[in-house]
Amino acid sequence: MITADDASAARGGVKRPELIGLGALVGAGALLVAVGTRLLTGAFAIVAISLVFASILALVVVAVTGTPESRRRIAPYGLLKPGMLWLALFYLAPLFTLLRLSLSTLPSRFAVEAEFGPTLDNYITAFTDFRPQFERGFLYAAIATVLTITIGYPLAYVIAFRGGKYRILLLGLVVIPFFTSFLIRTIAWKSILADQGFVTDAIDTVRLTWLFDGLNIMQDGKLINTPAAVIFGLTYNFLPFMILPIYVSLEKIDERLVDAAKDLYSTSVSAFRKVVLPLSIPGVFAGTLLTFIPAAGDFINAEYLGTPNTTMIGNSIQDQFLVQNNVPLASSMSFVLMFIITVFVIIYSKFFGTEDLA
């Protein structure tokens, strides 16, 4: 992108304010994280906080006294600072606290303060006792992600290429359901698919229960409280996160390009495969991340639509944290979840990578 600044940047520009700006931003963020995680305490914390204020002061001093050029150089850091510091304190610092707690133990069962080991006991418990939940969590999320692609891609395709002037309206229709609370939507599914609800009754009336049972969609004539129901709920709840990015990537494709491809490859199918599909991969990639990641950590669907045999890792973290009161163990499980997801994202980016998620 070409901006008004490029000319001066090419000339070498004024480097000093830029360094001050970046240094002040990163430094202040790091200090906040250190204080937030209690690496710095007492007098050190007060010094650190004063330094954060000083860094803000420095920005303001440059903004007031500097030349227009240095002002322009410092501006982005000033704009970034409040938001980035918020994230440093309330996103990054908590992750470090989580890490420290995951390496701690509770000195007694009802203790309030965990004692830092460091110990890997919690991680060992997480991997041994909660392995099935981890496996189920990732398996269900993966299946749900594939289902959202199979349901969402054609819909996004039709809206993008056949929506015509109704595109925006159709896209609005995709989004509208998600303006009602997802808890209520999940309870709605629970009620719609209940054992004596009209859907089960209908399947029963047309005597297709054997078919659904055979496909593992039903279990003993039940539609809910089955693994399929949990996956179904995940699919439903995260579908728009798949549709929207795919739509965005499809919409960017020039229709003339598609037409040209049809002439070139003679059939629509191969035109799709050779032109449309590759160009929409970034959308599928973004959609996969936006679906898989929240689905892997979800516990609402398993809670309302599952059984004790379909609990996902999210249920376990929630239970250990908020019911069993074992925060160190819950922390280690959270950390493992995040770690596995990060590894997945890195590997996945290598294959389908785009530099831009947004």
Partner: protein
């Protein structure tokens, strides 16, 4: 698009459209249920089995006091956190889109991270921070948590919207003698406002609907989703359906209004 070349092609086309239609219908099944059951007169505390039609629930949508309180609490949180997050996020977006500067790639990456962290990790880690600092969880901590996940969202949404913005307009205004601040308010801000409003609206909806992160950081505070989850132990009153339908209607109205307003704005700037 080119004309379908064969009957097979036409059938495939119809089949694809039908498939997409069913997918769209699938999205609406629970919504239809929610709206229909807002007219139900349930027997007992759970509005989950159809009994008979009534308009009573709509006559007094705020009849359930505790539910209404929770709903108001959610609106308050969403309003406050959206204002904070929109300001912070828009500033970040402008910095990223307007300027080219050292460290932007790294900061950009950092901004995406919260969106690729599962909600349960966001919620539980923030709760450990509050526990560690011995801070009572409640209204303030929920606002902090919501701003945290909204900032990245707003920043990335606004950045995507202002990407195509012609920043030389600013230069032109300043060349004509306007101060940078005046330039921003008179030239830049009106042009990027629709993008900011759209991001604010969506992040308001995110806050209103958030359950997982809120659950970990709410303490004894009860928001609308927390109320529904807790109340499901003893009741599921039709007022829940009514309020959910109200949210639905309001957001559809806002979306329609926004689209119309956007279309008008485009026409105006085109002339």
């Amino acid at each position: 698009m080119s004309v379908p070349s064969s009957t097979g092609g036409r059938i495939a086309r119809i089949a694809l459209n039908a498939y997409a239609g069913f997918a769209l219908l699938y999205l609406f099944v629970p919504i239809i249920w929610i709206v229909v059951f807002s007219f139900n007169q349930p027997k007992g505390p759970y509005n989950t089995v159809w009994q008979r039609f009534t308009l009573e629930n709509w006559a007094d949508p705020f009849g359930d006091e505790a539910l209404t309180n929770a709903f108001v609490e959610s609106l308050k949180i969403a309003a406050i956190s959206t204002v904070i997050a929109t300001v912070l996020g828009s500033m970040i977006a402008i910095a990223l889109a307007r300027y080219r500067f050292r460290g932007s790639a790294g900061l950009n990456f950092f901004l995406v991270l919260p969106l690729t962290t599962p909600e349960i990790v966001l919620g539980s880690s923030l709760a450990t921070l509050f526990l560690d600092w011995d801070i009572t969880r409640g209204f303030g901590t929920v606002v902090i948590a919501h701003v945290m996940f909204q900032v990245s969202f707003v920043a990335l949404t606004v950045r995507a919207r202002v990407r195509g913005f012609d920043w030389t307009l600013e230069q032109a205004a300043q060349d004509l003698g306007a101060s940078p601040l005046r330039t921003f308010w008179k030239v830049t801000f009106p042009l990027i406002l629709p993008g900011i409003l759209a991001a604010a609206l969506l992040s308001f909806a995110l806050s209103l609907d958030d359950f997982i992160i809120t659950l970990f950081n709410a303490g004894s505070l009860v928001t609308f989703p927390l109320y529904i989850n807790g109340a499901f132990a003893r009741q599921f009153p039709p007022e829940v359906n009514v309020l959910a339908s109200v949210i639905l209607i309001v957001s559809v109205a806002l979306m329609l209004g926004g689209t119309l307003w956007g279309a008008r704005g485009r026409r105006k700037s085109a002339t």
